[in-house]
Amino acid sequence: MAQYVGIDLGTTLSGLAYLKSDGNPEIVPNADGERLTPSVVYFDAHEDVKLVGSAARDGGDPDRTIFQIKRFMDDPEHVIKIDGRDWAPSEISAMILAKLKRDCSRIIGDIDDVVITVPANFNELARKSTIAAAEMAGMKVKRLVNEPTAAAVYYAHNQGVQGRVLVYDLGGGTLDVTLLEVTGDNIRILTSEGARHLGGSNFDEILLGAYDEQYRKQTGADLYSDERHRRRVLQAAEDAKKMLSKLQRVNDTIANDKDGGIARIDLTRDGFEKLVNRMLTRTILLVEQALDSVNLKPKDIDHVVLVGGSTRLPKVKTILEKMFGKPPKSCGNVDECVALGAALFAKKSARIQEICNASYGTLAMVYNAETGEEKLMNSVVIPKNSPIPCSRTQLYLTSEDDEKLIEVDITQGEDEDSRFVDVIGRLSLEVPPGRPKGCEVAVTFSYDENQRVRALVVDKQSGRSREVAVNYKGAGVLSDEELKRRSHHLRAMRIE
């Protein structure tokens, strides 16, 4: 049995690594001989089989093919309808994990406990869904770890660096920026910031637009009329993007799916960089936000480390070198280092101090006695970047006379303005009637190592209390009972 296993459950590619007896991590190839498995699932119409990986990506009916399910792990209402059945995002992810488990266990033995990586800005629901996916695939999640943290662990292990490190992780679907401090064998995460829907897939879509424009200009026809052909052109655009990381100019020849003629697509690196410039500016804004949140300047950073396939774009290196005054370094194989780091993390987690990735609190009317102002605010109890696990308490007062039910909204987000935070749950506590307003209520939030939150409310006068973990509801969220039922179904499923 493999003792230390890490899985990078990526937006476009997933990989599994284990720790060898010499203490070094290694990627385990899948049964198709690939080191990384495309995160794509195909539901075959003729046989009762689910294809996962390259076979699913390359030829299936697009209406029966699920791409980039990771982007929907945080959407409580997202479901995939195929053959009259609703599939939750966690179920699709479970199929990818099941493929990895089944294939890789043939090489390294049984896989039970795993560390799974998630984007730094994955919210509560997405983390919970990831754990559910692993359970359905027959694995126990020892820890969830943020992707840039895993990459940094690998980089520190591989390069033996010390000091402050900024990890710029531009993957297929998300950007994560993490600042950490390496001292000896210990790693302390300072902050992690993430941006959703900002990654290689966005660049591919932009390049697809360039293909479409040139095709129309030359032939006067539409480049694609159905999803299947659009997918093919998108794949061609992705290939061209990769070429543009190595060459200044790339030509392609493309036809549409309606005999509309052939067009010669001419792309330059300069032109491509102009097209994606605004997306890259967003990445710099995130880097600035990360630095600001811990009061650091670019000159305070000792190493800038690149992670994720999209960091192969030369412009990424250029803008970071301009900002930090030193060339960024690659984390070895940028596609594999997250999985490799996760395997290392499985063993070294005690030496790595992680932080809370979001602020948690409640809604409160806050009176400022000095100014006399009062306003409804998101009152933060656990601030973002608190070392985890952690528990914090804040005292509040009840707002009305004869209040029989105390209701505490659980908020996620650091913004003071209540409109810009998510209310992810509510805790209700019955209290004795007939009391005046102003009774003290202690609200405690606890945050565990898997970045899951619990809330405890204690009415100080009566001593009554209630504690809850946040539970989500929605068409795309499985109940515990449903999770158990679908786990049985998934384990009996043919997944290739």
Partner: protein, 118 residues
């Protein structure tokens, strides 16, 4: 100095006191319809419509940038808005996510105009 009085979402809405106006972005007051039952995740509805009803706003207007602002003020404003709307892009509320994307485009446009391209 501060006294914090618990306000659940339902009380806040029924209390007649609107949420505080954000000093910077041009947003409307929230119009949340009703609270969800206990122990159920609650989504805030209809915050921060980015597209105005009357006329299309420029990126500067969307970001609350005025001609009188200094470079430092513009920078601070963009940072505040970026933090707010980047987080909004991961909101549980689909409307907030959609609006966030438009605002992020506006923030980048203003930054490029006032501070140059990266």
């Amino acid at each position: 100095m501060f006294k914090r009085v618990l306000q659940s979402l339902s009380k806040s809405l029924g209390g007649g006191k609107p949420a505080p106006a954000a000093p910077l972005p041009p947003v409307e007051a929230p119009a949340v319809s009703k609270a969800a039952p206990p122990s159920q995740p609650v989504k805030q509805s209809t915050p921060t419509p980015v597209t105005p009803a009357k006329e299309v706003q420029t990126p500067e207007e969307l970001c609350g940038i005025t001609a009188a602002m200094t470079k430092a003020e513009i920078s601070a404003q963009l940072k505040l808005l970026y933090r707010r709307y980047n987080r909004g892009a991961s909101s549980l509320n689909a409307k907030v996510r959609l609006d966030a994307d438009s605002m992020l485009d506006a923030i980048v446009a203003v930054r490029e105009k006032h501070f140059g391209e990266i």
